[in-house]
Symmetry: C2
Subunit: 389 residues, 2 copies
């Protein structure tokens, strides 16, 4: 039989980050590529205790509501998710399911969605799978910072949604200022386009909290609509696959139907574990510990790189930096040379919104969450050696 595959599905680009998994598994490899927290950045005792409690709840093992366990929804709202009046929270299988649901809800096949350039590549997979075209926008520092965004919004045609990761972005680690946020919301409101705010890293600030979320600020901008995506992946456990979306009531109902049509409901056991962990009162202390862990690792990594001639745009939280290579150093074969030195990075071009753009050949994404302070210095030194080889 000649199997005819839906051209949208056939066109999904391979996620270049997931393609790095096998390298990361090599013995002795120090992995700066993957956004995977190190084992000591988990509260494993607290999670095991929550799992043990959850396993004695019958509701952990049976069917439940498609919108999520009501007790978990309440607990999320009290602990980590600010739900403005007139909005609803739905539990999702990680923020990735939120990206998929929100994008599909607004963008039919053939439409365009604006995405940051550089972008988290799974967003491109989501767009491809549903026949939607991602159009890249760049936000630059300076007075005209949103000029390209405004231009794309005007010229791209049939733009149905904006994807944004304004706080400790992936891959850049950068954060939009309050003024940029307000300007972005005003432009979207003017063009009647909703914003999908992906916010998995917002709690991971080093020294001071970031500006208010787009969701928070939307109440100050007439006509602005924000779909907010949160996640427990970076503050509790990515294996739980518990995220949430916050959407206006009118859209949340449609998203809930779409969610039900794709996988019926959230994982019942994982929801109970998350609930028990939130009840345990350990989350705040755990997040505080992770913040100082990541700040320390970030500082150690940046110190080695800066000294070796890398240019590292400043970040104030999250898990990533997106430095420029030293100016006089070529990058051809750099990935192979780094692998030979037993260090892994995510090449800049992996984050292109538009494959043909030629952008980011002189940059790399480095994650400072996955290695302890001593290892991260060794990894940085190996990377420097690979660059200078």
């Amino acid at each position: 039989m000649t199997l005819s595959i839906n051209p949208f599905i056939a066109a999904i680009p391979t996620n270049p980050l997931r393609a790095l998994f096998p390298y990361g598994a090599r013995p002795g490899m120090l992995n700066l590529a993957s956004g995977h927290p190190s084992k000591d950045a988990y509260d494993l005792d607290g999670l095991a205790e929550a799992a043990s409690r959850a396993s004695r709840d019958f509701s952990a093992w049976t069917y439940g509501p498609s919108a999520g366990d009501p007790a978990l929804i309440t607990a999320l709202t009290e602990a980590v998710a600010m739900v403005p009046p007139g909005k609803r929270l739905l539990v999702t299988s990680g923020a990735q399911q939120g990206i998929d649901l929100a994008t599909r809800t607004f963008a039919p096949p053939g439409a365009n969605v604006l995405v940051p350039e550089p972008v988290y590549p799974a967003v491109l997979s989501t767009c491809a799978a549903i026949g939607v075209t991602p159009v890249g926008y760049q936000i630059a520092p300076g007075d005209d910072d949103l000029a390209d965004f405004a231009a794309k919004l005007k010229t791209a045609g049939d733009v149905r949604a904006i994807y944004a990761l304004p706080t400790f972005g992936n891959p850049t680690g950068e954060t939009l200022t309050r003024a940029q946020r307000l300007r972005l919301l005003a432009l979207c409101a003017e063009h009647d386009v909703p914003v999908i705010e992906d916010a998995p890293y917002s709690d991971l600030w080093f020294r001071a909290p970031p500006p208010p979320s787009l969701l928070d600020l939307a109440s100050q901008v007439d006509g602005a609509t924000v779909i907010y995506l949160g996640s427990l992946s970076k503050i509790m456990s990515p294996g739980l696959r518990i995220g949430w979306l916050i959407a206006p009531e009118s859209v949340a109902a449609a998203m809930q139907e779409a969610r039900q049509a794709s996988d019926l409901q959230p994982n019942a056991l994982a929801q109970r574990v998350a609930w028990h962990y939130l009840q345990s009162g350990r989350l705040d202390g755990h997040i505080a510990r992770v913040r100082s862990l990541y700040a320390e690792r970030h500082d150690a990594l940046v110190a080695v790189l800066t000294k070796a001639g890398f240019t590292v745009p400043a970040v104030e939280g999250g898990m990533f930096i997106f430095p420029f290579l030293p100016k006089d150093k070529g990058n051809s074969d750099l990935f192979d040379r780094a692998v030979a030195q037993n260090v892994l990075f995510a090449p800049g071009p992996a984050f292109r919104a538009v494959a043909e753009s030629g952008l980011f050949a002189d940059r790399m994404r480095l994650c400072f969450a996955g290695l302890g302070k001593a290892d991260i210095v060794v990894a940085a030194e190996r990377l420097v050696a690979a660059v200078h080889a």
Copy 2:
């Protein structure tokens, strides 16, 4: 802001079964409507033990492969999933995600998919969400049993996939014979259309195993392609949301990318729990216990209904019967009268593939898995009283 919603998403029909949830929660209600096993049909001790072991595995809490935990894939293959040569198994979030992935992989927006009439309604939601039109086929007993199926395959136009639930169907509980299976596969091969075989109930036989799966039989039919969907929901726990799909290598890669684009990967904790439960060696004994539990409940339910004039097509496993009301009894307001008697059933029309067909007004789906033997007799008697009221 006027939010413009993707017309596919806006058109998802409300799942009529999930709409019954609030009735099921009323105190004193005996629920024959929902396909939810009773608490004593779970191995809660075994599950709690597996959860406790899983919680001590670091891999339960972190990221893992999109295709699923390799150890779980091996264990599923050894215990419950027969993977023919040249095929691959992917772990899914329940069989519902398998339905979504398989349908989307073959059917682009605007295409048709053949579905049984009556049908499990979540299949219709999946089709609507991706802009695909479900076309109903009926398989009748007798010599011409696949005549309607063959006719629809020929006349529907642009049919990209067949959805089938051939073993202990939902809602009918009925099972295709070996001859019907071979004929169905031959017709699909002739028309170059793949079959999506949804098989969550196959292990729940009462007295003898069902005929071989379509996946098994496909090796005997030149050019037949089957995507098989299995699930631990009916034999271990629906709250775990662990299912799997088995697809030809060539298609499995595309499905894995599609899965990654929708929610990245399967739940890591739930996969570890399923793995530990499979390692515990308790599954076979548990399934044997569930089989006899359900057989006993089925017999008790059917005895009361038959005596009261219902016509109950024979079933030999699964969780459902789809009886006809006594001939002289009207069904208007029957749902309300039953609710007044504190018994809940799923009305036949909820299972129409085509809303306007007018079919199944004289039938109802009853689940015999959710109530113990004593309760099920009381529920059946209440139902009889409602019918005769």
